[in-house]
Amino acid sequence: MKRKKAICCLFAGLVFSGLLAGCGSKNSENTLTVLNYGKYLDPDAIEMFEEETGITVELEEYITPENMYTKYRAGAIDYDLICTSDYMIEKLIQEGEVLELDYSNIPLSENLDSTYFDFSKSFDPENKYSIPYFFGTVGILYHKDMVDESKVNSWKILWDKEYSGQIIMADSVRDSFMVALKILGYSLNTTDDEQLKEAQDLLLEQKPLVYSYLVDEAQDEMISENAAMAVVYSGEAGYALEFNDKLAFSVPEEGSNMWIDSWFIPKSAKQKENAEKFLNFLCREDVSMMNFDYVYYATPNQKTKNSLDADLQENTTIFPPTETLNNCEVLKPLDDKATMKLNLLWKEIKAAD
């Protein structure tokens, strides 16, 4: 009896410690831990990279920039390379969490159009920290037969009672407030209590008309004609247009948000060299093409763009024209107090009847 007990305890102890020891022992290997939006990188490209370099890529995915911030800050995983949106990168730069890139290790970054490095300066003033990956705007994806096309040049159509129950709003704090703030003529980076309250009132007024608050699923809903219009990223719209030719996309005249998703190396990086190798790999023309085909967002890679079919290059939904971009603002990070306030205002909207 005693022996059996001892064996049991020993066994349990062994397995227990084995499990614990298993944690966190991976860093010494030749790996690269990447954090990216969901489905934002062609898995075949990753396999190609692994074959070419012998580096094992661990890909972790997230849904919103805020989600990414939590994952990074939790510190439970040491990420080597992260892709996220402009304002979140700026926030992390301000917090001193981003490492400078060594461009001599990323020679292929020359493939990228310098225009987008200029745009990036709004959050990374000296282009020291980040490399653009995809970009776009936010606008209204609508069904041509269900919507009066003369009205889609304004965000106000989203408040039109005629379309009650047929409107899909963005399920993201910053994007939804962007729409309301633009109608009111304010900056989308305002932290002014009054202005934010006004925007909230507007969004509360809109809620009864809203069919649903969605992020990327909006494209599927629009393709299957479950709603008349949706606030979406330009890339989603480009994808949806391929499947339903009754759909069209418009960036309203009040202006919109221009976003750039970029790569950066965080302070937690244990494999900076591998991260830069991967960045260089991503800038390569064939790889960038694979990712463009997979994600279908506007790529800043000039070489890739030039090798596309002419009509795709001129597709203004996927590649927003410069005058549209000039009418757009880039999101800025808000301080903690303003972020909490905005979160609360948004929660109140979501919880409203």
Partner: protein, 258 residues
């Protein structure tokens, strides 16, 4: 007669309710269109693509590994615990059973989050953290399945065996084990099913690059799920169907009932 047919209709209604979405998924797995919302004709290409898609097969492997390993370990730990609890005094038993119920009562999300808080504090997230979490929420299912069988088992036979000179281990395997085996087995199956179907706990405790089918679907949901996923689910479902049918009507089922 009217009652009989009303019963039939009611049964049919419930079955439709339970299996309709599964039917939809199976149909969609043959859909020749890149988006799930349009029907583009019949195809088998998602099944072909499936086996060359490294990431899905890997997630599938991980899911199987986690559910098997955690169910096995939970069964071992849980069965031992049930044996121990069964030997306790009535009052201690009640306390133990109460404590065992806590993880069952706890919301998935709280279980997952509290573990995440613990792991984040003391270690790095990885495969082992997911395993630990799954074992933890699986153990109660095993205990609650084994304990009733132990209570039904006759203690006197076991004691008689000991009196006649059998070693405890021998007596256990000859007398107690056959009686609790169905409980252990259903506990294992239940644990495995729960682990297979879990999303919340995995979501909060997994490390980078680790995907189970659930978490993979969740991150893909926003951008549209790959149709290979539907193909895999269909295969998995049909496998389970065949397996469980065999277990119920196959030769071993007779033995189990005896």
């Amino acid at each position: 007669m009217v009652k009989k047919s009303a019963e039939r209709i009611y049964l049919a209604f419930i079955f439709l309710f339970l299996y309709l979405p599964i039917g939809v998924l199976i149909v969609l797995s043959f859909n020749n269109s890149k988006t799930r919302v349009q029907w583009g004709g019949f195809t088998l290409k998602w099944y072909k693509n499936l086996f060359s898609s490294g990431s899905i097969m890997e997630a599938f492997g991980t899911t199987l590994f986690i559910s098997l390993a955690s169910a096995l370990f939970a069964t071992l730990l849980g069965t031992l615990a049930a044996l121990g609890i069964d030997a306790m005094k009535k009052r201690n038993q009640a306390v133990m059973i109460g404590a065992t119920n806590i993880p069952l009562l706890n919301a998935d999300i709280v279980t997952g989050l509290s573990m995440m808080l613990l792991f984040v504090r003391f270690t790095r997230l990885g495969m082992s953290t997911v395993l630990i979490a799954h074992i933890t929420f699986n153990i109660p299912y095993v205990i609650l399945n084994v304990l009733p069988k132990l209570k039904q088992s006759s203690r006197t036979t076991y004691e008689a065996a000991l009196d006649l000179g059998a070693t405890p281990l021998y007596a256990f395997f000859k007398i107690i084990w056959p009686q609790i085996r169905p409980g252990v087995f259903s506990g294992f199956l239940m644990a495995m099913t729960m682990s297979l179907d879990d999303f919340s706990v995995t979501y909060f405790t997994k490390g980078a690059g680790i995907h189970t089918l659930s978490t993979m679907i969740y991150t893909e949901m926003r951008k549209g799920i790959r149709l290979e996923m539907y193909a895999l689910s269909t295969i998995l479902f049909l496998l389970a169907l065949v397996l469980l049918l065999f277990m119920n009507f196959g030769p071993s089922a007779r033995r189990e009932e005896a």
